[in-house]
C-alpha cells in the first residue's frame, strides 16, 4: 500500500496519466489515431528525438546543458554519408553507425575539452561549438543534399518489424530503427542506475563539491558525459538520414529546444541530479503525440511553437516547485 501511494506521487505517474488522457481524447475526436500505422508512425517519429533526449538527459543530470548535439548529429551524418559514398562502400549498415558514432564522440570530446579544462559554462561553450560545427559543415564540407545513400543505409531504412498487411492491402510495420532507441534507453537506464559512472553523474549534478570529496574524478566524468552525448547524437543523426533517405546538411539544427523540452517535461531538473530514463521516454512520447495530433485534430501548425513554449514553461514550473533547492533561479550553467 505504501509503495502504491509512493508510485502515485511520482512524476512519471502523472506523465503516463497525461499521455493516456491525451491519447483517449484524440482517439475520440479522430479514431485514425489508434490505427496500427499511426501508432507505428508515432514510434518512428520518436526514435531520433528519443535518442537525442537520452543524451540531453545525461547532460542535464550532471547540471550541464548541451545545445550543440543537433550540430554534432548533422555533421557526423553528412560526413559519414559522403565518406562511405566516396569509398563506394556497400557493406552492412553497422559500419556507417560506427563511423557516425565515432565522429560524434570526437565532437563531444571537443566540447568536453573546453568545459572541463577551462571550467567554462556549458551553455556558452555548446552555443559556440554548435556554430563552429555547423559553420564548418556548411562552409567547408558542402551544402548539397546527398540523395543516393550507400546501399546498406537504404536497406536499413526499409527493414521493419512486425510487418502486417492491413485490410486495405497496404503493409505496415515498425521501423527497425525504433529498436535502436529501445536498446539505447535500456543501456542508459542501466548506466544510470547500476554503475558507478551513473552514480557519479547524479553526484556531479547534485553537488559537485560533494562529488569530489566522495572521490569522483570530475574531469573524467565530464569527458565521459559529453563524449557519450556526442556518440548518441552521431547515431541519431545517421538514423535520421536513413529515415529521410537523404543526407541534408540543413536538417536537424533548430530542433534542439524541442528535445530539451521533452527531457524537462520528463521531469529532469536543469539544476542537476534529478531525472529518470522512464520519465524522459514518456516526455518524448507526450511531445511527439502532441505534435502528431495537431495535424490529426486539424490545428494549424503555427500553433505548435506556442504549445511547445507553454509545455516547457509549465513543466519547468512544476519541476522547480518540487525542488526547493533552486535559489530563485540565479544559476546559469
Amino acid at each position: 500500500m505504501d509503495r502504491l501511494s509512493r508510485a502515485l506521487h511520482r512524476h512519471e505517474f502523472y506523465l503516463a496519466a497525461t499521455l493516456a488522457l491525451l491519447a483517449s481524447i484524440i482517439a475520440l475526436i479522430n479514431p485514425a489515431f489508434l490505427s496500427l500505422s499511426n501508432l507505428f508512425d508515432l514510434c518512428k517519429s520518436s526514435t531520433v528525438l528519443g535518442i537525442f533526449a537520452l543524451g540531453v538527459l545525461i547532460v542535464l543530470l550532471s547540471s550541464g546543458i548541451d545545445i550543440s548535439f543537433t550540430a554534432i548529429a548533422v555533421l557526423s551524418m553528412y560526413v559519414t554519408s559522403r565518406v562511405l559514398l566516396a569509398v563506394d562502400y556497400s557493406g552492412p549498415v553497422i559500419v556507417a553507425f560506427a563511423v557516425a558514432g565515432c565522429l560524434g564522440l570526437l565532437l563531444g570530446l571537443f566540447n568536453a575539452f573546453f568545459i572541463s579544462c577551462y571550467r567554462l559554462p556549458t551553455l556558452i561553450v555548446t552555443l559556440g561549438s554548435a556554430s563552429v560545427f555547423r559553420g564548418f559543415l556548411l562552409a567547408f564540407i558542402g551544402t548539397k543534399i546527398v540523395t543516393s545513400l550507400p546501399a546498406g543505409m537504404v536497406e536499413f531504412s526499409k527493414r521493419s518489424l512486425f510487418a502486417t498487411t492491413l485490410p486495405g492491402g497496404e503493409t505496415t510495420g515498425l521501423a527497425a530503427s525504433f529498436l535502436l532507441f529501445v536498446v539505447a534507453a535500456v543501456m542508459v537506464c542501466v548506466l544510470l542506475r547500476y554503475t558507478m559512472l551513473g552514480r557519479g553523474i547524479y553526484a556531479l549534478g547534485g553537488n559537485p563539491e560533494a562529488a569530489v570529496r566522495a572521490g569522483f574524478n570530475i574531469a573524467r566524468l565530464q569527458f565521459f558525459i559529453y563524449g557519450l552525448v556526442g556518440f548518441l547524437s552521431g547515431v541519431a543523426g545517421l538514423i535520421h538520414a536513413c529515415m529521410m533517405r537523404n543526407a541534408n546538411p540543413f536538417d536537424l539544427v533548430g530542433t534542439e529546444l524541442v528535445v530539451i523540452a521533452a527531457v524537462v517535461l520528463g521531469g529532469a531538473s536543469i539544476t542537476g541530479g534529478r531525472g529518470t530514463v522512464i520519465g524522459t521516454v514518456l516526455g518524448v512520447f507526450l511531445l511527439v503525440t502532441i505534435n502528431n495530433s495537431l495535424i490529426l485534430l486539424g490545428i494549424p501548425s503555427y500553433w505548435q511553437k506556442v504549445l511547445v513554449g507553454l509545455v516547457i514553461v509549465i513543466s519547468t514550473g512544476i519541476t522547480a516547485r518540487r525542488n526547493p533547492r533552486a535559489l530563485h533561479g540565479v544559476v546559469v550553467s
Partner: protein, 354 residues
C-alpha cells in the same frame, strides 16, 4: 596586455589599491584586450580589402547595421550581469515589432495628415513599449516567483513569444509603413544615423545604470554572490523581475529599430542574432557567471564583430579566397571567436582568482 595589468598590481600591490579600483581592474584588462582586438580586426580588414573597406559608403552602411545587434547585446548583458541569461530577447524584439507594424500599416491606408500620422507612430511606440514590458514581466514572474532557471524559463518564452508572432502573422511579413516611420531606422540627425544615436543613448543609460546607481550595484552583487546578496537583505525577487523587464524593454527598442530599418516585420527575423548577441556580451568582458560587464565593452565588441562581418562580406569579391567565404564561414568564425575569447579570458583572469 596582461603584462600591463600585472605591472599595475605589482608596482602598487593589490592591498594598496582602493577597493573600487580593484573591483574594476579585471574588467579594465578585458576592455584593453578588446580594444586591441577591435583595432587589429579593423587594420586587417582594411589591408585585405584595399579601396573598399576604408570608404565612406562602407562606414555609413555599417553604422546602420550594427546598432540593432548592439541593443540586443545590451539586453543580454543586463541578464548576464546577474548570473542569469535571457534567451528570449530576439523573440521579444520580433513580437514587439510585429505589434507596432500592425498599427503602422493602418496608417499607410489612412489620411497622411501630420497629426494623425504622428498619433499612429506614437501609438506604435507605446504599443511596443507596453508589449515588451509585458513580455519582460512574464519572464520576471517565471524566474523570480516560480524559481525557474533563467535558461529554461527564457527558452520556453522564446518559443512561446515566437509562436504568438507566428500565430499573428501566419508566417508572413507585415510590410509597408508610412515614410515618417522609417526615420527611426533609416534617418540621420546632423549626419549621424538615428539607429546609431538610439544605440549610443541606450548604451550610456545602461552604463550609468550599472556603474552609478544603487540598482546597478545590487545587480552586480547578486551576480557575484546570490547567497550573500540575499543574506544582506536585498530583495532578490524584485531585482530579478527588474532585470528581465529591462532586458525586454531594450529588446523591444531593437525590434522597433529593425522594423523601421527593413520596412517589414517577420516572426523569424534575425534568428542568428541570439548567438551573436551572447557572443558580443561575452566578448565585451561580461562574465557569464555573473558579476562583471559594462556597456563600453559591448560597444567595442559589437564594433569588432561588425568590422569582421563587413570585411568578410567584401572578401567574397576577392578571387582567391572569395569562393570559400559565405554566411556559414561567418557562423564558423563567430563560434570559434566565442570559444577563443573565453579561453583567453580564462588565462588572463586567472591571477585574480588566486
Amino acid at each position: 596586455m596582461s603584462d600591463e595589468r600585472d605591472n599595475v598590481s605589482v608596482s602598487k600591490g593589490p592591498a594598496a589599491l582602493p577597493a573600487r579600483l580593484q573591483r574594476c581592474l579585471p574588467a579594465e584588462g578585458a576592455t584593453v584586450r578588446l580594444l586591441i582586438i577591435t583595432v587589429a580586426v579593423f587594420i586587417a580588414m582594411s589591408l585585405l580589402n584595399p579601396g573598399r573597406f576604408l570608404t565612406y559608403r562602407n562606414f555609413a552602411s555599417m553604422c546602420f547595421q550594427f546598432p540593432e545587434l548592439g541593443i540586443f547585446a545590451l539586453a543580454v548583458t543586463v541578464s548576464l550581469v546577474t548570473g542569469g541569461i535571457d534567451l528570449s530577447v530576439i523573440s521579444i524584439g520580433n513580437l514587439t515589432g510585429i505589434l507596432a507594424a500592425l498599427i503602422l500599416t493602418q496608417a499607410t491606408g489612412a489620411d497622411p495628415s501630420a497629426p494623425m500620422l504622428a498619433a499612429y507612430i506614437a501609438g506604435a511606440v507605446v504599443a511596443a513599449v507596453a508589449a515588451s514590458a509585458l513580455c519582460g514581466w512574464i519572464n520576471g514572474i517565471l524566474i523570480s516567483r516560480f524559481a525557474i532557471t533563467p535558461i529554461l524559463a527564457t527558452l520556453g518564452t522564446m518559443q512561446f513569444f515566437m509562436g504568438i508572432s507566428l500565430v499573428i502573422t501566419k508566417g508572413h511579413a507585415i510590410a509597408g509603413y508610412p515614410k515618417a516611420a522609417q526615420f527611426i531606422g533609416n534617418g540621420t540627425l546632423a549626419g549621424v544615423p538615428v539607429p546609431l544615436l538610439i544605440f549610443l543613448l541606450l548604451a550610456c543609460l545602461v552604463q550609468v545604470m550599472l556603474s552609478r546607481t544603487r540598482l546597478g550595484l545590487h545587480l552586480y552583487l547578486m551576480g557575484t554572490n546570490p547567497v550573500a546578496a540575499r543574506f544582506s537583505g536585498l530583495d532578490v525577487r524584485r531585482l530579478l523581475s527588474k532585470t528581465y523587464l529591462l532586458a525586454a524593454l531594450l529588446s523591444g527598442m531593437a525590434g522597433l529599430v529593425i522594423i523601421s530599418r527593413t520596412n517589414s516585420a517577420k516572426a523569424d527575423y534575425g534568428s542568428s542574432y541570439l548567438l551573436q548577441a551572447v557572443l558580443v556580451a561575452i566578448l565585451g568582458g561580461v562574465n557569464p557567471r555573473g558579476g562583471f560587464g559594462s556597456a563600453w565593452g559591448v560597444l567595442l565588441a559589437v564594433l569588432s564583430l561588425q568590422f569582421l562581418s563587413s570585411g568578410l562580406n567584401m572578401l567574397q569579391l576577392n578571387e582567391t579566397v572569395g569562393p570559400y567565404i559565405n554566411n556559414f564561414t561567418k557562423e564558423f568564425t563567430w563560434g570559434a571567436l566565442l570559444l577563443l575569447m573565453m579561453v583567453v579570458n580564462y588565462y588572463c583572469g586567472r591571477p585574480r582568482t588566486q
